[in-house]
Amino acid sequence: MAKNIIVIDDEEVVCRMTKMVLTKEGYEVETFTDSKKALERIKEKKFDLVITDLKMEDVDGMDILKTVNKLYPDAKVIMITAYATLDTAIEALRGHVFDFFPKPIKIEELKKSVKEALGK
């Protein structure tokens, strides 16, 4: 069974491109530009990997991370952010983030990281 991934970013292009790339890699991908709706979706369905932006309105990446860690301790989280500071990186890594991507995201690196996360 294909591994499922949820991508959360308020930038539609990020969602679309990530979905296109990862679908071609054989994953099942769901995308959300609205982090609130994404959080609800996470609560009702387990995803093997969560790729989320850090800075978003209403519900931010750290909120998503906390929920995933609580509900599905074995699920992996990849954090992306438009402007990375040391503080956000440390905070994210403390919250057991699998990987941390500052924008601009290199598609090849992302593919590699996803592969590692899902143990392919």
Binding site: M20, E57, K103, P104, I107
Partner: protein, 480 residues
């Protein structure tokens, strides 16, 4: 030319000096009139004694005439002599009151009387003529002294009456002068204090500029206070500018991280699109390839918009002020969003006060502010609504007040303090977060004020206050 105005201390000193002089004059007058009364009383005392001597002299004279008692004649002589010594002793005070002529008349009458007694004593058989002469002289003496006493009594009464009148008049004069002076000081101080009150109120309201340009005559203590307040306002104005600059610097930090985030996103999108385009070039259809490039264009436009706004924000462009009608500026701005209002199902309500004063503004900049407020209002009413645009002036006609009111979602209290911060936006990727901060800077540069009043679920009102164009500005040829 500077008016030479007396200071309040000098004025009070002059007033006190006038009061003191008035009281001094009254006291001197009182002193002299009392002195006159006293001398008159002294005179009357002497004359009473003289009169008594004369009467006793005449009583013994009568005894002589009734009983032909020569001893009585001797007694009358002695009493007459006593009276004469008395006249001699009190010569100075009597001369000053009676005058030299009267005094001599009196003493010579008395001397003649005494001589007549002596003549009568000497003659064995006194002549009737001599006796008649004695009687006549004696009568004259008593008559003279009693008429003098009456006269002096009258004089004293007149002086006392005059003094009473004078004291009454002085009292009235002093009271009136007090009343006049205090009334004058009260009005004078109240006027000055009201002026100061107006200035301090203006400072409290943050209108430093209008206070800073007010000056008063420095000769006056209140004038110095007014000048001090004006200097304080100048300092506050300067500090406010510095504070604004400091805030600008502080917001630079926010700005930099904002720029990183704002530019980071579209740059990332372009980067991902380019990488994806190259990686999957062979498997992409022509249509998909076109869509990739279109998306790149959209993202590039996003960057361009951010950069343009950033330039607007940071540009220290000197505004080009000119006199114009507030209605004209508002109408021009409305025309730019009319189409958007129609599409968004927003009904526009205009309310312009008649006979509005002109404003002195950079038309493009004010238009930018207004369009920004209209666009914000449109975004706050996604399901349509009503937009009210009011232009009013205040009672003094020195301000033009433009209100932009919507019936939209309102602003949440927790974000209200940040709406004028650069890069603060509630519109996600749609907004740059620079619109209101740029507007704030523009209005500030026009010496105006922008404020907001909002209620969640009911709507928001933005109020812009701009100084009205005055002839003073026309003369200065510049703004403020």
């Amino acid at each position: 030319m500077k008016k030479n105005v007396l200071s309040i201390r000098q004025k009070i000193n002059i007033a006190l000096g006038i009061e003191a002089a008035l009281l001094g004059i009254i006291s001197i007058c009182a002193f002299f009139s009392f002195k006159i009364v006293l001398s008159k009383l002294h005179f009357i005392e002497i004359f009473d004694e003289l009169n008594i001597s004369f009467l006793e002299m005449r009583k013994t004279e009568k005894n002589y005439f009734l009983y032909h008692d020569t001893n009585a004649l001797q007694e009358a002589y002695q009493k007459g002599e006593n009276a004469y010594y008395m006249l001699q002793r009190a010569q100075t005070s009597l001369v000053s009151t009676l005058g030299r002529q009267n005094y001599h008349a009196l003493t010579s009458s008395l001397k003649q009387y005494l001589n007549t007694i002596q003549n009568l004593q000497k003659s064995q058989r006194p002549s009737i003529l001599e006796e008649l002469r004695l009687r006549k002289l004696g009568h004259r003496l008593t008559q003279f002294s009693s008429s003098l006493i009456k006269q002096e009594h009258k004089k004293i009464n007149r002086i006392i009456h005059q003094n009473t009148m004078m004291f009454f008049a002085s009292l009235v004069a002093v009271l009136l002068s007090q009343l006049f002076l205090w009334q004058y000081f009260f009005r004078f101080l109240a006027k000055k204090l009201l002026k100061m009150e107006a200035l301090t109120k203006a400072v409290a309201k943050g209108h430093f500029h209008e206070v800073a340009i007010k000056h008063s005559e420095p000769n006056d203590e209140i004038g110095s206070v007014v000048n001090a307040i004006s200097r304080m306002a100048q300092e506050l104005e300067k500090r406010e500018e510095q504070l604004l600059q400091a805030k600008k610097l502080a917001s630079l930090g926010v700005l930099v991280s904002g720029v990183a985030h704002e530019l980071g996103n579209p740059l990332n999108n372009i980067s991902m699109l380019a990488e994806g385009y190259l990686s999957y070039y062979d498997s992409l259809s022509d249509e998909e390839k076109k869509n990739f490039m279109k998306e790149v264009q959209v993202q590039a436009e996003r960057i361009r918009k951010i950069v343009r706004n950033l330039l607007d924000f940071s540009r220290q462009k000197q505004p080009e002020f000119k006199e114009c009608s507030p209605i004209e500026v508002v109408e021009k701005s409305i025309s730019l969003v009319e189409n958007q209002l129609r599409i968004s199902h927003i009904k526009l309500h205009k309310n312009y006060a008649p006979d509005l004063p002109a404003i002195y503004v950079d038309v493009d900049q004010i238009q930018q502010v207004l369009v920004n407020l209209f666009v914000n209002a449109i975004h706050a009413m996604p399901k349509g609504g009503r937009l009210f645009v009011d232009i009013q002036t205040n009672d003094k006609r020195d301000k033009v007040i433009i209100k932009v009111k919507d019936t939209g979602t309102g602003i949440k209290p927790e974000i209200l303090p940040h709406i004028f911060d650069p890069f603060f936006t509630t519109k996600g990727t749609k907004g740059t977060g620079l619109g209101l901060s740029v507007s704030y800077g523009i209005i500030k540069q026009h010496h105006g004020k922008i404020s907001v009043d909002t209620e969640v679920g009911k709507g928001t009102t933005f109020t812009i206050e701009l100084p009205a164009y005055s002839s003073k500005q026309a003369k200065e040829g510049k703004h403020g």
